[in-house]
Amino acid sequence: MSNMLIKRIRLLTSTTALLLLVACATAAPAPEYLKEGDWKTRITSQEKDGIKISAAVPSAKESKALFGKPLYKQDIQPVWLEIQNNKPFPISFLPVGLDPSYYTPLEVANTDLKDKNGNAKLVDEFFLSQGMGALKVMPGEIRSGFVFSKLDEGTKAFNVDIIGSVRDANADNYFETFTFFIPVPGLNIDHYNVNWKELYSDDEWVDLDKDRLIERLEQSPCCVTDKKGVGSGDPINLVIIGKPIDIYTAFIRAGWDETETVTRTSSMKTIASFLSGGEYRYSPISGLYVFGRAQDVAFQKARDNIHERNHLRLWMSPARFNGEPVFLGQISRDIGVRFTRKTITTHKIDPDVDETREYLLENLAYSQSLKQFAYVKGVGEVPITQPKGNLTGDPWFTDGYRIVLWVTSEPRPIDEIELLRWRIPDMSKRNK
């Protein structure tokens, strides 16, 4: 991470704090089948320069068996770490780097405390012994234990930050970050089920140069359709260029949640969250159609404290640019739930879809997930005074541009992101 960038992130408040997963991805997306039962079989390790970090994330069931409490239901996820220090000086692990509002072992032990008399013991030896204990790891020492973090199902993405106190007061301290993306069993994530290699046959693929890519993107349909290929829904306002692994890493790093496929369990969870007003971050989302099929992958991003969230759907196209596949996408911001005749309830979208498009650009840029971006035409201008309707009747308007985003697994500082001047939307018209 460049010093320049660190200087530029001048303020990290609780509401704006962003998990900056700075190192590159090392874990592949989840295998088709994630074995649940013994979390220790899923330990993965990284080693750099005399420091070895091993990590594993027990699932909901495994955590309950381990701690005798349904921790996932309390929004708590244990992360097991083992830190081996082969450096000649002591190092410290900084749990705030893993989760800025991590839970302490005694907090986890007392989550269901209802102490009527005010004299509960509070000190629980078992939970204390399960934590990491001291933050320091001496030369030659191995320290292990659990860090209790905020729950992220699907893929758990986190940093393990290690700092070493170098004796020389004038020298910079040793600092190293290990970034983990660990798939956690328990959810049936949509992209686990996509066989990317078989979506298109070899002779269907085309490699495009810049001009042909722009031409093709601008000739792609304006909008999604329903299953029968009819109707004109939300605008396809997004193009993403990158391999599936890069897209996966970029969105997880930028704080997006994966999406479950529709199963009996996921339907029950959706109903339960609707009735209780609770949050189901991985809720299956309705299929919208491009290339005659529903989205290959969907991501969603909710605010901490409120239902409203952003939805994003992606379809891989049979086109490559500089060897990387080109995805078409659609992004919208949910601003509420409303009733419809067709689907009983649906999310009401922000009619200003360009606002949501520009949000995505900023979100990926600040999470260091973006290499470069450009705009192309293709949707057609839809003025605010004459909005179009999507498949469930929600209005939307747009300047008619699609944003083209090159995502990256390798962190890219915000000041190194390039704007390619393919087409320049007239942004001065906005908010008029």
Partner: protein, 410 residues
């Protein structure tokens, strides 16, 4: 037997409700004006590079008056900005730099739709859309308008970042919002100590001075066992406030009545000079940081003693200042949390550990005057705070004492 009035009431109630809803849905939308408002007049100005920014935050009443909706009640706080681009390039203001989870104007309108007729809702959409700040600023142009952020109590702290093709200007604002008086506003800091009482020491002497200060807080009359003071903060002037705000802490405004004073921790024979809070969203999970200004100065900086309370669960105890909360007995964890919190917020210039030699063993937890059990290794973290951002690796460790025995740093 039920009183007949009950049945009548039950009959009337739905009718009243329907009438009330109809009344709401028939209400037209009315908004105030921004022109020459107090909001604009008190805007703070910052300028560097190609960018000039004025910023102001309306109080709940002002926001309702200008926007015509009780927006604070939904947890949303508008921030008014005016940005001038004096370059020859198109500039882009980053909405996400102010708040990663900002609300879009039409989203805000939808959240308040129930108050108005259909026409009223559409009028509101139009007004909020047009008074939102645009992202793009043409060369030589000035734009202004609102960003809708998540509300936070007390001084509003945020960044404004403006991007050019090859450049970027970044600003940090700390804006006092009318209608909220933080606890520290009523403390006359300059009158706390006479000049002759204040010790002015260098860093080496600070160590021995800190070694001699009392280990723990007490209750109001000084007789009850309190908790160890395991944090010392060193900062210049208002930097203490700014660094804590940057690290995500909020000011509080406790009423200092008898109930408060009888339950709060005392140090230097007085209640805290300032209390800050940081919560995780759920009411039972929060941290409180109490600060006392010490009669010590070092290299022109003030020295503050600090005590962390980490609420972890529910506890029903009467006359408890932290009413309804049980406190984490592991005080060392609270100390380590604040250290990292300030470190990651790039507020930490230097740190040192001071072993007071007074330990409270985990095997046999001590109980304080409020019946809170606690344990601690007796090590104080001394943290030098910086107003300018400090990169993680540039924080210096002064290597006073070791955090773990046998470490050999002594």
């Amino acid at each position: 037997m039920k009183h007949p009035a009950c049945s009548v009431f039950r009959l009337i109630c739905p009718v009243l409700l329907v009438l009330l809803l109809q009344a709401c849905s028939a209400t037209p939308y009315k908004h105030g004006t921004l022109e020459n408002s107090a909001l604009q007049q008190r805007a703070l100005l910052q300028e560097h590079g190609n960018t000039r920014v004025r910023a102001s935050v309306p109080s709940a009443d002002e926001a309702e008056q200008i926007l015509g909706i009780p927006i604070y009640k939904r947890g949303i706080q508008p921030v008014w900005l005016e940005i001038t681009n004096s370059s020859d390039d198109l500039a882009r203001f980053s909405m996400v730099s102010v708040d990663h989870d900002y609300f879009s104007p039409l989203e805000v309108a939808y959240m308040h739709k129930k108050y108005f007729s259909k026409q009223g809702w559409m009028d509101m959409e139009k007004y909020l859309y047009r008074t939102a700040i645009p992202r793009f600023i043409a060369p030589g142009q000035t734009v202004s308008g609102f960003v809708y952020t998540n509300a936070s109590p007390g001084t509003k702290t945020f960044n404004v970042e403006v991007f050019y093709i090859d450049d970027m200007d970044s600003f940090t604002f700390y804006i006092e919002v009318p209608g909220f008086t933080p606890d520290h506003a009523s403390v006359k800091f300059e009158e706390l100590y006479r000049t002759s009482e204040i010790q002015d020491v260098d860093t080496d002497d600070l160590r021995s001075v800190l070694q001699d200060t009392p280990c723990c807080t007490t209750n109001r009359d000084g007789t009850g066992q309190g908790q160890p003071i395991n944090l010392v903060l060193v900062a210049r002037g208002r930097e203490i406030l700014r660094t804590l705000l940057r690290a995500g802490w909020s000011e509080t405004s406790y009423e200092k009545d008898d109930n408060y004073l009888n339950n709060v921790n005392y140090f230097f024979n007085r209640p805290p000079d300032a209390v800050f809070r940081k919560s995780r969203g759920k009411s039972t999970e929060r941290n409180e940081l109490s600060l006392w200004l010490a009669p010590i100065r070092t290299d022109g900086k003030e020295v503050w003693f600090a005590h962390m309370k980490h609420a972890i669960g529910q506890r029903y105890k009467i006359n408890e200042i932290f009413f309804g909360s049980a406190l984490d007995p592991d005080l060392d964890d609270g100390r380590n949390f604040l250290l990292q919190n300030l470190w990651y917020s790039q507020c930490l210039e230097a740190l040192a550990y001071l072993d007071t030699g007074i330990t409270f063993p985990v095997e046999n937890p001590t109980v304080d005057f409020n019946d809170n059990p606690f344990f601690s290794d007796g090590v104080r973290a001394v943290l030098w705070l910086s107003g300018d951002p400090v990169i993680l690796t540039e924080t210096r460790n002064l290597n006073w004492d070791a955090l773990l025995s046998g470490e050999g740093e002594k």
